[in-house]
Amino acid sequence: MKSFSYMAYLVLGLLLVASVSAQELQKEKLQGMIDATLDVIYSESHASLSADEKKLKVREKIESSYDLDVMIRYAIGKNWRRMNEQEQLEVLELVKQLVLKAYVIGLEGKDRPSVTFGELTEIGKARIEIESTMVLDMKTYYILYRLRQMDSGWQIYDIVAENVSMSSNYRGQIDDHFRKGSAADLIARLKDLLAKDEISGDTKI
């Protein structure tokens, strides 16, 4: 009986250690992904790529590590049910393109930011938060990456920059949109935004 308890404690301890190191691995994985996307934007070997090609490459790098659908689905929330299957797929794709466009154009013309990763904190059941600081143009920004263990593995579901949660921000916008507009209007609006060369378009809503 005693040996059984020892075994149980041992297994429990091993599981705990395995879970902690699995979480720590997430930090390395995230850091690797960020470095890889910054390499696409800044490295000499990618200098000849057009903005569209860079966007595609950045997307490849992100999607080789994480499922972008998770973050976008989380941002859409219950509004997901207001769309039919085809609209859901279209909105997922368009929002993905919009976010990538803002990321690539937002960094263009600036010096490569230096990113340092800090503490990893468990923030709930199967959820972790990884702290980071980014120094861009001599200014320091605090960025938190929130990850959750999904059926498909650990996935990023939110990015919080300077206290502003990206998922919450998109959820607020999409909630506001569906108070008056339809899924078709949303798709039209997203296509309109993507067709613009600059990320700062007019304010027509």
Binding site: Y157, S165, S168, N169, I199, S200
Partner: protein, 256 residues
């Protein structure tokens, strides 16, 4: 002999459990019950627990007006300013005006009982005003105990005292705010020794006041314009994005 019998019994039991689990999973899906992942996508956010916006139509109108002014006046001005001004001068101007707002930060820290914050702000002001040539340089950054901290203002003080945000507002030229932060803005002006109504400068002619205000505004603008462009750039509804972003940012600043 006994253990063999148990083993014989265990195998069918394991298969039965597995089949049972699979049937439950399939029934759950058929019943339309959500999987854990699916339920996660539908969970509510704490941060977006609503922004009270009863003046939305007026706010949206002012937002469009501000955006027009931003795009057609402030942005070209900032572009020219950043193009012709060396980075070091730009940084120096921004530091100088930040240093001048020290009384607001000091009072705001004290009113929230943040004595450590008040001490750091005072130390930074003393070092930067003297060794940093009236605040143009920031030698205080070199001292670990006087490293820069988040700026406090009267709006945050009101928040820390438990005063609610009130309705969301968009102020002409100044952008997103709320009733509490608007009151805080008056508080900031009252504390600021170079701004009316309690300016410590005698015979403070309006031309000089305007010049100081304009220089301060332009020195601060590159950062404001950059943040505005970033938020607006990736947004589906820029008004809603700014409202949500501003509110989250201020709530975070108050809770810190």
């Amino acid at each position: 002999m006994k253990s063999v019998e148990i083993q014989k019994f265990k195998r069918p039991l394991a298969w039965a459990s597995l089949i049972g689990l699979l049937s439950v999973a399939s029934l759950t899906a058929q019943d339309g019950k959500l999987t854990e992942d699916e339920a996660f996508f539908y969970e509510e956010f704490d941060e977006s627990a609503g922004v009270y916006d009863p003046f939305e139509s007026v706010n949206r109108y002012i937002f469009k007006y501000n955006d027009y002014v931003f795009s057609n006046t402030l942005q070209p001005l900032v572009d020219t300013y950043t193009a012709i001004t060396p980075d070091i001068v730009e940084e120096g101007a921004s530091n100088f005006f930040h240093n001048l707002r020290y009384p607001v930060r000091l009072a705001s820290n004290l009113l929230q009982g943040r004595f450590k914050g008040a001490w750091i702000e005072t130390g930074r002001f003393a070092i930067n005003s003297t060794f940093g040539i009236v605040g143009i340089l920031t030698p205080a950054d070199d001292y670990e105990s006087f490293a820069p901290i988040e700026s406090e203002d009267v709006g945050q003080v009101f928040g820390a005292w438990g005063i609610g945000e009130g309705p969301y507002l968009v102020l002409p030229f100044l952008g997103p705010s709320n009733l509490r932060d608007l009151a805080g803005l008056f508080g900031d002006r009252a504390i600021n020794p170079i701004k009316e109504p309690f300016s410590m400068i005698d015979d403070w002619e309006w031309e000089w006041q305007l010049a100081t205000f304009s220089a301060d505004y332009i020195a601060r603008s590159p950062q404001i314009v950059e943040r505005y462009k970033q938020l607006k750039g990736s947004s589906i509804d820029p008004y809603s994005s700014l409202k949500n972003g501003y509110t989250q940012y201020r709530r975070g600043a108050v809770s810190e």
